[in-house]
C-alpha cells in the first residue's frame, strides 16, 4: 500500500512540475476552508476538491483506476483534472483582496505568473508556418507526390521528422509506417531498413519498400546510403528543401 501511495505521490509531483502552483492551490484551499462561510459555495468549491485530493492519494483509488482504465500508459494523473485549481485560486484571490481589489489583482497575478510556467515557452510550442500548423516543408513535399483527382492513392516512405504531419495534410498519401511504429517500437521492415541503420543498405531498403508497395521514398540529401538510389533504378522526381523525392518505377503502376 505504501508503494502505491508513493507512486501516486511521484505522479503528483510530476504533474506539478516545480510544485509552486500546487502550493498556491493548497494555500488557496486552506484559506477558503476557513474564510468561506457560505456552505453553498464551500461544498462544491472547497470541500469537494479537498476530498478529491485526499482520495487521489488513497491507494484503493489507484487500484480501482488501473482496473477500470486498462491502458498501456499510466494516466492516473488525470484524476487531478477533477480539481478545479484555477477556480479555487481565483476565488480565493478575489475573496482575500475583496476590499483591496487593485492590490489583489496585481498580487495574485504576480503569484500565478511566478509560480507557474508560461505555456508559450514550452519547447513543443513552435512557430506556425501556415494555417494547418504543420511544417511548410512537409506540405511542399506532399504537394509534389500527392495523386491527382481520380488517380489511385500513393504510398511513400518518409523520414521520422515528417511522419506525424504527412497524413494530417493529405490522407491520399499512405505510409508503410507511422508514429505508432516509432512510439511503440513495433517491427516494421521498411522502418528497420530506412530509419534504424546508420548507413542504409539500398538493396534491403528497396526490397522492403517494394514489398510494402511504396512508390516514393523521401530521403534527406546527405543520408548515408551504400548505393545511391538512382543507381538502383529509382528516379529523383524533385528536391524539396534538403530532401530528395525518389520514385520507384517498378511501383508506378
Amino acid at each position: 500500500m505504501y508503494g502505491i501511495f508513493m507512486e501516486s505521490y511521484v505522479i503528483f509531483k510530476q504533474y506539478g512540475g516545480s510544485g509552486y502552483l500546487l502550493v498556491l492551490f493548497a494555500a488557496a484551499l486552506i484559506y477558503l476552508l476557513f474564510a468561506e462561510k457560505d456552505m453553498r459555495k464551500k461544498l462544491p468549491v472547497v470541500i469537494a476538491p479537498a476530498v478529491i485530493l485526499f482520495m487521489y492519494f488513497v491507494p484503493f483509488t489507484r487500484i480501482a483506476f488501473v482496473a477500470i482504465f486498462d491502458e498501456a500508459t499510466d494516466t492516473y494523473y488525470r484524476i487531478l483534472w477533477l480539481l478545479p485549481m484555477g477556480v479555487v485560486i481565483a476565488y480565493a484571490g478575489c475573496k482575500l483582496f475583496a476590499e483591496h481589489r487593485r492590490i489583489g489583482v496585481v498580487a495574485v497575478s504576480v503569484a500565478i505568473i511566478l509560480c507557474g510556467r508560461l505555456v508559450y515557452k514550452n519547447e513543443n510550442m513552435l512557430k506556425a508556418e501556415n494555417l494547418y500548423h504543420i511544417p511548410q516543408l512537409a506540405i511542399d513535399i506532399c504537394d509534389r507526390i500527392s495523386p491527382e483527382e481520380g488517380e489511385p492513392r500513393v504510398r511513400a516512405v518518409f523520414p521520422e521528422e515528417f511522419i506525424h504531419y504527412v497524413r494530417q495534410y493529405d490522407t491520399n498519401i499512405l505510409m508503410p509506417y507511422g508514429r505508432d511504429v516509432v512510439h511503440w517500437q513495433y517491427y516494421n521492415a521498411v522502418y528497420e531498413t530506412f530509419q534504424k541503420p546508420e548507413v542504409i543498405n539500398a538493396e534491403e531498403l528497396l526490397a522492403a519498400t517494394r514489398e510494402a508497395k511504396c512508390r516514393y521514398i523521401v530521403m534527406y540529401k546527405n543520408r548515408d546510403i551504400d548505393t545511391p538510389l538512382e543507381d538502383m533504378g529509382c528516379e529523383i522526381v524533385d528536391t524539396v528543401g534538403d530532401y530528395n523525392i525518389y520514385e520507384d518505377p517498378e511501383m508506378v503502376d
Binding site: Y15, G16, G17, Y20, L21, L22, M39, R40, K41, L43, P44, V45, A48, I68, F69, Y77, R78, L80, W81, L82, M85, G86, V87, I89, A90, Y91, G93, A98, R101, V105, V108, S109, I112, I113, R117, L118, V119, Y120, K121, N122, N124, M125, L126, K127, A128, Y132, H133, I134, R153, I163, H164, Y165, R167, Q168, D170, T171, L174, G178, R179, D180
Partner: protein
C-alpha cells in the same frame, strides 16, 4: 472563396449553436436566460445530437458512414435551429405587437435593438439604480451594474483572451497524438469513413473501440465538411478560436454565481482564471497544458469544458438551495418542473456530451456528478436528489453499456 468559408464557419459555429440554444432556452429560469448560457446550451445540444447520430452511423453503416452522418446531422441541426429561430421571431413579433419597442421617450434604433436583446435574454439586463433604491426590490433577483473599475478589469481580461487567441493562431504546438485525432477527422472529410482506417498508415481496420466512441473528431470533421475547410485547419486554427472563449464563458458563469452580489469581482476572477490557464503549464500533464496545446482534442475538452460545466451546474444547484419561496417562484416563472430542474437537465446534457469527448471523460464526469450530488444530498437532505442524479446519469450509463457491449462482440 475565403470569405465564403469564413461565413460558413460563422454560420455553423456561432449562429447555429446560438439558435439551437434558443430552441431550448425555455428550460432556463429568467435570471439564467442570458446570451452566454444560451450559447453554452446550444453547443451542448449540438454535441448531444451528434452523439446520438454519429455513434449509430459509425457502428451500423459500413460504407460512406460519414456521408450519411453528415446528411442526418445537417438536417437535425437545421431543424433544431429553425425551432430556435421561430421562437425568436415569435417573441419579437409579440413584443412588437404589444408595443414594447415603442415604450419610452428614446425611440432610436439602438434602443429598439437593446429592448429586443433584453426581451430574448432577460437574464442579461442589469438593474438601474432606481431599482436598488426601491424597498420592494429583492436584490437577489437582479443583476447589478459594473463600476468603471470593473469595466476596466473586463478590458484587461479581454486583452488576455485576445492575446491567447492570437497565440493560438501564430503558434503551432506539436503533439504526437494529432497524428491520430486530426487524421481521423481528415479521413472522415476526405474518405467519408468513420474511424475505419488506421490514421498512421491508411490501412483499413475494424472499429478501434477505445477511441471510436469519442466522436469529437467526427464533429470537427462535420464542421470542416460543411464549411469546405480542411479538417486540419479546422482543428488547429479554427477550434481554438471557438473553444477557448467557450471555456471562459463557462468560467464566467461559475464566477457570476460565486460573485452574484459583487459584479466587480467577476472580471478579476476571470483575469486570474485566464492567467492560471496560460501559466498552468507546469508539466505536460496538466489540464491547462492540454487546453492550450491540444485544444481540439477530446480529452482536452473533457478536462477543460465538460468538468467545469459540471462544476457550474452544481454551483448553480447549490445556489438554488434554500432560496426563499417567492424568489424561487419569480425566477422559475411560477415553478415549472423543467425550469426548476434546469441545472439537472444541463447536467444530463453535459454527461451525455462528455461521451463524444473521450470515454474516460464519461467516467470522470459521471464520477464527479455523483460525488457532488452526494454533497448536495447531504446539504439539502432532500431524497429527490437521488432520483434526479440517477436520471442525469442515464446517458453516461447507456454510453458505458454500449461501449462494453461493442467491446465484447
Amino acid at each position: 472563396m475565403v470569405v465564403l468559408k469564413a461565413l460558413a464557419l460563422l454560420f455553423w459555429l456561432v449562429i447555429i449553436p446560438f439558435l439551437m440554444g434558443l430552441s431550448v432556452q425555455w428550460i432556463l429560469p429568467i435570471t439564467k436566460k442570458t446570451a452566454g448560457i444560451t450559447f453554452i446550451i446550444g453547443y451542448l445540444l449540438s454535441f448531444c445530437v451528434f452523439e446520438v447520430i454519429g455513434i449509430p452511423c459509425m457502428i451500423k453503416i459500413q460504407y460512406s458512414a460519414f456521408k450519411y452522418c453528415t446528411r442526418i446531422f445537417v438536417c437535425a441541426e437545421l431543424l433544431i435551429a429553425l425551432i430556435g429561430a421561430i421562437n425568436l421571431v415569435q417573441k419579437l413579433r409579440y413584443a412588437s405587437r404589444s408595443g414594447q419597442f415603442t415604450i419610452g421617450v428614446d425611440n432610436s434604433v439602438w434602443n429598439k435593438v437593446k429592448t429586443g436583446f433584453f426581451l430574448i435574454f432577460p437574464g442579461d439586463e442589469k438593474s438601474e439604480a432606481e431599482a436598488l433604491m426601491n424597498p420592494r426590490t429583492d436584490v437577489r433577483a437582479i443583476r447589478l451594474q459594473c463600476s468603471k473599475e470593473g469595466l476596466f478589469f473586463w478590458g484587461v481580461f479581454f486583452v488576455i483572451l485576445g492575446f491567447q487567441l492570437v497565440m493560438a493562431l501564430v503558434k503551432a504546438p506539436f503533439d504526437g497524438d494529432d497524428a491520430y485525432y486530426v487524421v481521423e477527422s481528415l479521413l472522415a472529410q476526405q474518405a467519408d469513413v468513420m474511424n475505419t482506417i488506421i490514421p498512421d498508415t491508411g490501412v483499413s481496420t475494424p472499429l478501434p473501440m477505445r477511441h471510436a466512441m469519442a466522436v469529437f473528431t467526427m464533429w470537427q470533421a462535420f464542421i470542416a465538411k460543411v464549411s469546405f475547410v480542411h479538417s486540419t485547419i479546422v482543428a488547429h486554427s479554427v477550434m481554438p478560436l471557438v473553444l477557448i472563449p467557450l471555456v471562459y464563458l463557462v468560467y464566467a458563469e461559475i464566477g457570476r454565481i460565486l460573485f452574484s452580489r459583487k459584479p466587480d469581482s467577476l472580471p478579476i476572477f476571470m483575469i486570474f482564471v485566464s492567467l492560471f490557464t496560460m501559466f498552468g503549464n507546469t508539466s505536460i500533464y496538466t489540464a491547462e497544458t492540454f487546453f492550450m496545446m491540444r485544444t481540439w482534442q477530446g480529452k482536452a475538452m473533457a478536462a477543460n469544458l465538460m468538468l467545469p460545466l459540471i462544476l457550474w451546474a452544481f454551483i448553480w444547484m447549490f445556489d438554488d438551495c434554500r432560496k426563499p419561496g417567492y424568489l424561487w417562484k419569480e425566477e422559475t416563472g411560477g415553478g415549472k418542473v423543467f425550469v426548476r430542474n434546469s441545472a439537472w437537465i444541463i447536467l444530463m446534457m453535459v454527461n451525455m456530451a462528455s461521451g463524444i469527448m473521450s470515454s474516460m471523460g464519461t467516467v470522470f464526469c459521471g464520477g464527479l456528478s455523483g460525488f457532488l450530488a452526494f454533497l448536495i444530498l447531504i446539504y439539502t437532505r432532500n431524497l429527490k436528489i437521488v432520483i434526479k442524479i440517477i436520471l442525469a446519469m442515464i446517458p453516461s450509463a447507456l454510453y458505458i453499456m454500449c461501449y462494453m457491449l461493442i467491446k465484447m462482440q
